[in-house]
C-alpha cells in the first residue's frame, strides 16, 4: 500500500549510454539524493537494455513504454497501464522526442492524476532548431545562420551558394555532425534523415568555447536556478564527458532573455558557443534537463528537486549561490542484472514487482 508521504515520480530517458546519454538516470539520482525514502522513482524506458532501468538505488521499479513514433493514443494507453500499477504523482519526461506527445497528453494525464511541469506546444515549437534564428533575433542573441534543406543535392555546390565547408549538418531533434566536404555532408544527411526524418538542417560552423546552461523556466518569463558548465572533455560525438561549473553573467543574461521571450515553462538546456570575439552564439535550446544535470546537485542547486517541487506544488528547496569550479567526470561502469529482471522487462514490459523480489 502506498504511504501518503511518499511521492511517486516517473522519469523517462534511462538510456544512460556513453556516446549520447539520456538525462533520466541523472535526474533520478538527483531526486533520490534530495528526497531519499520519501520518493518512489519509476524508470520509464524503451529498451530492456537501458542501463538506468536496472539501477535499483535510483529506480524503485521500471517499465517499458511505447516509442513516440507509435503515437499519442498508444503512449497514453501505456502510461495509463503503468499508472494503474504505480499510481504516478508526477511525470518528468527527459527526451526531446517525447515532449510533443507528452505536452499533447498533459490534460488527459492530469485527469488521471499525473502532474507535470511542461512548456506549451507553441513554446516548444518556437525553440525548435529550424525556428531558432527567429527567437534569437527577438531575444537579441546571436546565432549561426541555419538553413533547412530536404534535398541532398544542396551539398554538390553549396559553396557556390554561399555555404562553404566546414558546415554542421543537424537533425530536427538530435544529432549534429561536422562536414568538411560534400561526401561528409551527404553521408551525414543520409544518416540523420534516416534516423530523425526530414528536414535536415545545415548550420554555419562556429568555432570557440562551448558552454551550456541549464535551469527551469517558471512560465512567466523568469529563469530559476541556472547552472552553467564548460565542457572539459567530450565524447567523439561532442557530448560532455567532463565539465566544470562556471559563472558567466554574459551567458546568464542571454539565457534570461531567451527564457523571457519564450515565457518558457519547465526544464531547459541552452547551448552556446563563445566565439573568438567573445560573442555568445546560440546553438540549441533543449526542452529538458541535460545528461550532466547531476552537476546541479554538485553545486547545491538540485534542479530536478526544484522541478519536482514546482510540479507537485511543494515549497521549493533552497538554492545555493552559484558555485564555479566544481567538476564532474563521467565514467563507465557495469551494472549486474539478474536474468529474471531482464526477462521481466522483455516479456512483461516491467521490472519484477517488489513482492516478487522479496
Amino acid at each position: 500500500m502506498k504511504r501518503e508521504s511518499v511521492l511517486t515520480v516517473a522519469v523517462t530517458g534511462m538510456n544512460a549510454v556513453p556516446d549520447n546519454p539520456g538525462a533520466g538516470l541523472a535526474v533520478a539520482r538527483c531526486l533520490r539524493e534530495a528526497y531519499g525514502e520519501r520518493i518512489r522513482i519509476v524508470g520509464l524506458g524503451y529498451d530492456a537494455l537501458d542501463p538506468g532501468l536496472h539501477r535499483r538505488e535510483y529506480c524503485d521499479s521500471a517499465h517499458l513504454i511505447s516509442y513516440p513514433g507509435s503515437g499519442a493514443d498508444t503512449l497514453l494507453a501505456r502510461l495509463a497501464e503503468v499508472h494503474e500499477t504505480e499510481r504516478i504523482d508526477v511525470l518528468l519526461p527527459c527526451l526531446d522526442a517525447e515532449l510533443p506527445l507528452v505536452i499533447a497528453l498533459a490534460p488527459q494525464l492530469a485527469a488521471l492524476g499525473i502532474r507535470s511541469y511542461l512548456p506549451s506546444a507553441e513554446q516548444l515549437a518556437r525553440r525548435a532548431k529550424d525556428r531558432l534564428p527567429e527567437l534569437a533575433d527577438e531575444a537579441g542573441v546571436a546565432t549561426p545562420e541555419t538553413l533547412s534543406i530536404s534535398n541532398i543535392d544542396f551539398f554538390r555546390d553549396c559553396d557556390r551558394k554561399g555555404w562553404p565547408f566546414p558546415l554542421v549538418v543537424k537533425g530536427g531533434f538530435y544529432d549534429a555532425r561536422i562536414a568538411t566536404c560534400p561526401a561528409d555532408a551527404e553521408s551525414a544527411f543520409r544518416a540523420i534523415a534516416a534516423e530523425w526524418g526530414m528536414p535536415v538542417l545545415v548550420q554555419r560552423r562556429i568555432t570557440g568555447e562551448e558552454c551550456n546552461l541549464t535551469g527551469i523556466g517558471d512560465g512567466t518569463g523568469a529563469l530559476l536556478g541556472e547552472v552553467m558548465m564548460k565542457k572539459r572533455a567530450t565524447t567523439i560525438r561532442g557530448k560532455a564527458w567532463a565539465g566544470i561549473s562556471i559563472q558567466d553573467e554574459g551567458l546568464a543574461d542571454a539565457a534570461r532573455r531567451l527564457i523571457a521571450a519564450l515565457k518558457w515553462k519547465g526544464p531547459v538546456e541552452i547551448e552556446v558557443m563563445r566565439d573568438s570575439q567573445g560573442v555568445y552564439q546560440l546553438i540549441e535550446i533543449n526542452p529538458r534537463f541535460p545528461a550532466w544535470i547531476y552537476l546541479s546537485q554538485g553545486v547545491g542547486r538540485n534542479l530536478p528537486a526544484l522541478l519536482l517541487s514546482l510540479a507537485s506544488g511543494e515549497k521549493p528547496p533552497p538554492l545555493a549561490p552559484p558555485q564555479p569550479g566544481i567538476l564532474f567526470i563521467r565514467y563507465a561502469q557495469e551494472t549486474i542484472v539478474p536474468l529474471s529482471s531482464f526477462e521481466s522487462l522483455m516479456m512483461a514490459g516491467r521490472s519484477p514487482m517488489e513482492d516478487e523480489t522479496t
Binding site: E209, M229, K230, G243, I246, G250, R274, G325
Partner: protein, 93 residues
C-alpha cells in the same frame, strides 16, 4: 625600447584588472577562471606578477613592489611584467 615596451608603458596596455580580478589563484600556481572554466598553471614569477596585476595597473608601482620582494633589478622586472602582461592580454581577449 621595442614596440611592446612602448605600448606597455601605458597603464591601459596591461591586462584589464577586472578580468584578472576574477581569477582564483592558488599558492601552488594553479589558476582558475570562473567565467570561462579554463584553468592553467604559472610559475612562481608568474604568480607574483599576476597577484600584483590583479590589484594594480601602474607599471612602475608593480616593478617597485617586485624589486622590494625579490632580488631583481628594475629593468629585468619591468621586462618580465610587460612580457607576462602581453601573454595575459592574449589569453583573456
Amino acid at each position: 625600447m621595442d614596440k611592446n615596451q612602448a605600448a606597455s608603458d601605458q597603464p591601459s596596455a596591461l591586462a584589464k584588472p577586472e578580468v584578472l580580478m576574477r581569477l582564483a589563484l592558488s599558492d601552488n600556481g594553479f589558476v582558475f577562471d570562473p567565467v570561462t572554466g579554463n584553468s592553467f598553471t604559472v610559475n612562481g614569477t608568474g604568480l607574483a606578477i599576476l597577484r600584483r596585476l590583479q590589484h594594480e595597473t601602474d607599471l612602475a608601482r608593480i616593478v617597485a613592489s617586485l624589486c622590494t620582494e625579490f632580488d631583481v633589478v628594475p629593468l629585468a622586472a619591468e621586462r618580465d611584467v610587460i612580457e607576462f602582461a602581453n601573454l595575459l592580454r592574449n589569453a583573456f581577449k
